[in-house]
Amino acid sequence: MNNKEFLTELSGKCQMSPEVTAGHVQTLIGVMENLWNSGDSVSLSGFGVLEVKKKNERVSVNPTTGIRMLVPPKLVLTYKPSSLLKEKLK
């Protein structure tokens, strides 16, 4: 399901035009981004938790060349599916 299909389905469910839906999607993402930037996590029952985690710096080695590199610390947006959603996979 690509972005276009996703928007059509969402607009159909909310009874809005795809253009308006696209705008709302961007606002929703913007709102969530602000939350993540301030260190909050978005937890949705039945879906999972979206939160920003700090990954520590580390030394990575290229296995073929043996070149060692220091990978800097970074903030990564992570998603952990809820157990409800996991259950549905089985």
Partner: protein
């Protein structure tokens, strides 16, 4: 900070930002995530522009070991939902740390980092409850450093698609990265120089501290009058002996050509050997001679050092502060074999008070004491 925002709170914030009613926005948010989860379950992949990609991954069976018992067991294959944030979103989230760049570690640096490295390699495993972001990082690392290989990376895994935009941006970011590295090296070299200078200063201070007793002795030497002239007379003697040795060396060196000249003569004709030998032997006594003189000169010097040490120890015993001079006690005529300490012992019953004799008689350099000369003995009153 560190709050857990649930659906209704998210809907409230959304309605504030987007001008929707709370009910409508809650419905919208609910639908948004419902469709994502439904899409992932049904189609295996959902892409949302500006957000990211949700994907269903098939994990194969794999063998593992029970940490407690050491038993081997298989983790059965299962499906897993992965989320890869959009490159733009990823960058915006990582903005606080965006100044950092991956740095290639050289041999010397790796030694410095060796202790840091251990902690680093443990940490990712500590956070392994979601393995996905870690793997994404690993994929981006080779891509960042070897931008040429992007095509092959793409072919290897469909996941690289999401990495692609990062790759496009990277060459631009490379230049500041290089600058940063050179800057870091510069500061490192500066640090090394500073440390080197500091260590030099430290060594100098230590040397001064260790040599202080010698320097102190040198200062005290000026007071230890008896030993001083002896040292002065000895020094030239020592110099003379050194000169003698040096002259002898020169003689030896001069003699060498003679020996060398003699050698070919030996090779050329045997009858000449007898003539050549005395020439060779001749310089030897010259070399041998200066040695005894040097040894003889050295011995008195050592003895004198001992005297000096004795004088010093006497000096350090001397008492110069506990008494004051109150008039003349007597006049003493110096006899042979007498010293100030002996005179002090005779009149005061202690050797320690000889400095008062020096002071009272203005004996700036007390080596000028002559047998038969008279000195005044001060009367000392305890303070």
């Amino acid at each position: 900070m560190d709050k857990k925002i649930n659906l209704s709170q998210l809907a409230d914030l959304m309605s504030e930002a987007g001008g929707m009613s709370k009910v409508a926005s809650e419905q919208f948010v609910k639908n948004f995530f419902d469709i994502i989860s439904k899409g992932v379950l049904d189609e295996g992949i959902v892409k949302v522009k500006g957000f990211g990609t949700f994907k269903l991954l098939q994990m194969e069976n794999r063998e593992s070991v029970n940490v407690n018992t050491g038993e081997r067991f298989t983790i059965e294959g299962h499906q897993k939902i992965s989320f890869t944030p959009d490159a733009e979103l990823k960058e915006r989230i990582n903005k606080p740390f965006s100044a950092f760049e991956t740095v290639v570690i050289t041999e010397e640096q790796s030694a410095e980092l060796s202790d840091v490295e251990i902690t680093k390699e443990e940490l990712p495993t500590a956070e392994s409850d979601n393995e996905e972001p870690v793997r994404i990082e690993e994929e981006t690392v080779p891509v960042e450093t070897v931008p040429v290989e992007t095509g092959s990376v793409e072919a290897e895994s469909p996941e690289a698609e999401s990495v692609e935009p990062v790759v496009v941006n990277k060459p631009e970011a490379k230049e500041p990265q290089v600058k940063e590295i050179t800057q870091k090296r510069g500061t490192r070299i500066l640090l090394k120089i500073v440390v080197y200078i500091l260590s030099l200063i430290l060594v100098a201070c230590l040397a001064l501290y260790l040599l202080w007793p010698l320097v102190g002795k040198a200062l005290i030497k000026s007071y230890a009058d008896k030993s001083k002239p002896a040292v002065e007379t000895i020094k030239p003697v020592a110099r003379e002996s050194i000169q003698v040795i040096e002259e002898a060396k020169l003689e030896v060196e001069e003699a060498k050509p003679v020996i060398e000249e003699a050698k070919p003569a030996v090779e050329e004709a045997k009858p000449l050997v007898e003539e050549a030998k005395p020439v060779v032997e001749a310089p030897k006594p010259v070399v041998a001679e200066p040695k005894p003189t040097a040894a003889n000169d050295a011995q008195p010097f050592n003895l004198n050092q001992e005297d000096q040490a004795k004088a010093l120890s006497k000096f350090t015993e001397a008492d110069t502060v506990n008494y004051r001079i109150a008039g003349r006690l007597a006049v003493h005529t110096i006899e042979e074999g007498e010293s100030l300490t002996k005179i002090s012992n005779k009149y005061y019953g202690t050797k320690k008070l000889w400095p008062y004799l020096v002071k009272y008689n203005n004996l700036g350099s007390s080596n000028s004491l002559m047998v038969g000369s008279k000195i005044n003995i001060p009367r000392l009153v305890a303070k």
